[in-house]
């Protein structure tokens, strides 16, 4: 793909310098590039999927908020310590219906990323999320979460303020919420820091998103004793949307446009919006007791073990 892109760039360069018409060659090359791109994205290795999931031009939570929802009103703060910009949340409308949207938010550039902490929340981020979920429950509104984080932040302040407790409390309380809950993994589903927004009635994944107990780099460093083996770790961890479907964790894969979500934000948002509407409508048709019983049954069934 890179080679063809270089050929195209070379041709354009040549055309500019010499004033030759290269449109014939160009369109042929561009077509070839499209075909290869399509084939490439259909056959990504797990480690490539990880790279696509982390692509710096991939749409983030706020990009979907702009495209899928209307009437977005952001709500800030955990009411105890501070507002954590690594998680955003607030009221929005999905087809006119009022819903609570909560998601990890990465930054687009270095300055933004310092503000967003690269999408790695502190405890107060998870506590804000829980506050907003309880607010949704108070008014009977569905909760939609977007998952996209390398993980919960491992730092001194995070430990002092109870990172583990904050995540744990979200897991327990999400199991108790009486309103419909839908999560979508839009990029990186990084371990407990992702799951803390992910105990939901439905778990959707964008085609090239990943969801894992540990990053391939972290896993390779521990089990292969070198991060260089991250490609093997990525394969072994079974972290792609098709793996998670096969393992019974992912309920629906949302297809991405050719070239991945970063190549077509609007197209991705359209597909995502449709999947969300369907999920919320189906869940709202159930009564709360049914929904909660099904949620408990869903999580009780997760795992693989052998009886004696």
């Amino acid at each position: 793909m890179v080679e063809i892109q270089e050929q195209i760039d070379g041709l354009l360069d040549l055309a500019e310098r010499k004033g030759i018409d290269v449109s014939g060659e160009l369109s042929g090359l561009r077509q070839k590039l499209e075909v290869i791109r399509e084939a490439t994205y259909r056959n990504l290795r797990p480690i490539d999927q990880v790279q696509v999931a982390r692509h710096p031009r991939r749409p983030y939570t706020c990009d979907y908020l702009e495209r899928v929802f209307t009437d977005w009103i952001e709500l800030h703060g955990d009411r105890a310590f501070r507002d954590d910009a690594a998680i955003v949340g607030g009221w929005a409308r999905l087809d006119g219906r009022s819903v609570m949207v909560i998601g990890h938010q990465k930054g687009r550039d270095m300055k933004d990323n310092l503000h967003r902490n690269f999408g790695m929340p502190h405890p107060e981020g998870y506590r804000k999320a829980l506050r907003l979920m309880r607010l949704a429950e108070k008014f009977g509104r569905p909760v939609i979460t977007f998952i996209d984080t390398p993980g919960a932040y491992p730092g001194i302040g995070a430990e002092k303020r109870g990172q583990a407790e904050a995540i744990a409390m979200n897991l327990r309380e999400m199991a108790r919420l009486r309103v419909p809950l839908v999560s979508v993994v839009i990029g990186e589903g990084g371990s407990g820091g992702a799951l803390a927004l992910g105990v939901t009635d439905r778990i959707l994944m964008l085609e090239h998103s990943v969801y894992s107990v540990i990053s391939p780099e972290g896993c390779a460093a521990i089990l292969w004793r070198s991060a260089d083996h991250r490609d093997r770790a990525a394969e072994a961890l079974k972290l792609t949307s098709s793996d998670l479907t096969r393992l019974g964790i992912c309920d629906e894969v949302i297809p991405e446009p050719a070239g991945g979500a970063h190549a077509d934000w609007d197209g991705t948002a359209t597909a995502l919006g449709e999947a969300l509407r369907r999920a919320v409508t189906e869940l709202q048709a159930l009564d709360p007791e049914q929904r909660m019983a099904a949620r408990h049954a869903k999580y009780e069934a997760m795992g693989a073990w052998q009886e004696a």
């Binding site: 919960a152 932040y153 491992p154 730092g155 001194i156 995070a158 430990e159 002092k160 303020r161 109870g162 990172q163 583990a164 407790e165 995540i167 744990a168 409390m169 897991l171 327990r172 309380e173 199991a175 108790r176 371990s191 407990g192 799951l195 803390a196 992910g198 105990v199 969801y211 894992s212 107990v213 540990i214 896993c219 521990i222 089990l223 292969w224 004793r225 093997r232 770790a233 072994a236 961890l237 079974k238 972290l239 793996d243 998670l244 393992l247 964790i249 949620r295 408990h296 999580y299 009780e300 997760m302 795992g303 693989a304 073990w305 052998q306 009886e307 004696a308």
Partner: protein
């Protein structure tokens, strides 16, 4: 499973696998030479400096419960290696080695018991089994123990010691955090007490799920308990961590646990707590 046979003779004193089986033991805390026999009688707490030696699940069962009251549940549940995971060696080989080493099927023992005559549901993790990591078997056994507690109206006690999720079970190991927390949600709503006892070390997915969700959280002196391991934090922030960071006393100071309890007082303290909380209103 054909390739997994239980050892013919049950281990009589599995404490021995955590400590050199000599007559004397050197204390890691103060360097004092101690009589093994005496140390065992004192719950493996150094009589000079109160250093808490790491002990096995079996040792906690003897320490906390009324004699012979432990009726084990689900002891035959074993991992199914759902990902057919292989790193430098196959996960199945790691499992075989851990079973051989501990004489147990996985990293937790669960059962019914009495503690100072109070009927309880107890689970004790064993760090010696693949670092006390939580995979499907640990999660499922805790979930079943929680349901047993619900059905029989027993308070729940979980003794944790874990390096976190068992990554060789991939996403399933992560989801055990949700599974165990979800069953605790039901216990919480039923008004049944849950005492979480944190021992050295407890980190990662176990801390970030059931272990931090006790109605009361107790921790042994000196135990390291946290979300991220100290090495990961040091690599992230590129500075050395202060002394005592993530240790029991740090947790108490920062409000994460209710008390730091000497192992020799664990049974009595837990019993007193249960008498306060047990049989209370369920509304």
């Amino acid at each position: 499973m054909a390739w997994f046979r239980k050892p013919k003779k049950p281990l009589t004193s599995s404490d021995k696998r955590d400590l050199p089986s000599d007559v004397f033991v050197k204390c890691d805390g103060c360097g004092e030479i101690l009589y093994r026999e005496k140390l065992a009688q004192g719950g493996y707490v150094c009589p000079h400096c109160a250093h808490h030696f790491r002990i096995s699940a079996d040792a906690y069962i003897r320490l906390l419960l009324d004699d012979d009251s432990f009726q084990e549940t689900e002891s035959e549940l074993t991992s199914a290696d759902p990902l057919e995971f292989t790193d430098l060696k196959p996960y199945v080989d790691r499992l075989v080695a851990a079973r051989k080493k501990t004489g147990r099927a996985d990293a937790i023992r669960t059962g019914r018991a009495t503690l100072e005559e109070i009927p309880v549901a107890l689970g004790v993790m064993d760090f010696a089994f693949i670092g006390g990591s939580m995979g499907s078997v640990v999660g499922e056994k805790i979930a079943r123990l929680g349901r047993l507690a619900l059905e029989e109206g027993r308070p729940l006690i979980l003794v944790s010691a874990s390096g976190g999720a068992r990554m060789m079970e991939g996403i399933y190991s992560l989801m055990q955090m949700a599974k165990t927390s979800a069953v605790l949600a039901r216990l919480h709503e039923a008004g049944l007490p849950f005492v979480s006892i944190l021992t050295h070390p407890t980190t990662g997915g176990v801390t970030a799920s059931f272990a931090m969700l006790g109605d009361v959280n107790l921790v042994e002196p000196g135990a390291l308990v946290g979300f991220a391991g100290p090495r990961v934090i040091e690599e992230t922030i590129r500075q050395e961590l202060p002394d005592g960071f993530q240790r029991a006393e740090f947790l108490l100071e920062h409000g994460m646990v209710d008390q730091v309890v000497d192992r020799r007082e664990l049974r009595a303290t837990t019993a007193r707590l249960l008498r306060h909380m047990n049989g209370g209103p369920r509304e």
